[in-house]
Amino acid sequence: MFKKLIDNSAARSPWLFHINAGSCNGCDIELVALLTPRYDVERLGFKLAGTPRHADIVVVTGPVTAQSKDRVLRTIAQVPDPKVIVTLGSCPRSCNVFRGSYSVVGPLDKYVPIDVSIAGCTPKPEAIIDGLALATQILKEKRGAK
């Protein structure tokens, strides 16, 4: 009984933790835009958590810069299982226009497996909602697999 309850709840209350890995802030702003009355992801149970310990979904923006790499990886490691890693925008997926820069050591999938990538520069908030919905699904799958 508990298991079913927990499984069902897991899909309804995914909490996000947002990591900026050297982003230009475009994607960050769009992510915050999701909390505005227009998009209001809270109605789907999403919430921005203040610390990785509370999060289910880690949202990474920005190409992974040399400075931020260790921090990003450490923070991702600190998220309790089950967790889903979402890349927001093109940067963390491929470094985008910053590829080849001396200070960029991305993309992120060199270091951790990415579960969902949302393309766009920046993605439209609706696309982010799509991505997060997909992430929630994966979350449920991961919980089921455990």
Binding site: I6, A10, P37, R43, T51, H54, P82
Partner: protein
Amino acid sequence: MEFLIKIVYILIFPGLLFSSVFGLWLAGIDRKVVARMQRRVGPPVLQPTYDFFKLLGKETIVPSCAARHTFLIAPYVGLISLVVTALFIPIGGLQAFGGMADMVVVLYLITIPSLAMIFGGSASASPFAGVGVSRSMVAIMAYELPLILVLLSIGRAAGGTYVTFSLERVTLYQQMFGSFLFDWRLIPAALAMLLVIPCEVGAHPFDVGEAETEICEGPLVEYSGAPLAVFKLSHAIKMFIMTALFCALFLGGISTGMLWLDVVIALALCSVVTLICMTLLHAITARLKVEQVFKFFWTVVSGLALVSLILVWFVD
């Protein structure tokens, strides 16, 4: 039979099960209505419940440099003492264990969960938690002064020619002479109490201790999984307890003769109080700074409560 009823009281009706469910429901409508006030759709009313169960299913990480036992035990102690406190507060004339603790005791009992959170956070060895602990404690210092002034005013008003701390007598007095909310001398105290509730619960705009954007939720920064769920549940139950305390202190006079109807009315009033003092405040204010909270409570709110105290003592 007597014993069975007691067990029902403890575990089901005002006790564990009901206070959890009702607390989560209050937290739910709070979130929903805040969203609606900001012209959002808002989460479903059951959202806090979902959050609670989801957190139960998460991994619990104990930081390697934390004081393990304190870290893990603290949330449960907080929860249990809250549930026990819920039993002492009359709900619409229903006194589960009202004769065992008075207002002042309740005042102290409701600091135990805050303390549990403070010590739990402290045990997690995070500097964010350290700052959060400091801020939570300042918030406690801030609201305790007006709260005791409010309780003393009520103790005097309900004592007639004498004083009383007994919640039971406060309720009885109101049933005989009408609710204190309609006593003009106590209106400032009621206002003060309405401002104390969000601070006690740790809701906007007084949630300096758990400011998630500034200090990563303060004492809760290292908590995950079941202990965090328990903290969230405690938070919800605290909303219930504080509003129920308000109803018992200021709206205790409502009596229809039928106990169950009284209880239902009291619970409805709890929800209304929640909406007024937490939801409305949340929707229209931004978080204060910690020294502003302290100053606000020791000047404005205490002033209000003191006015009531003086009125109660000198005006018949």
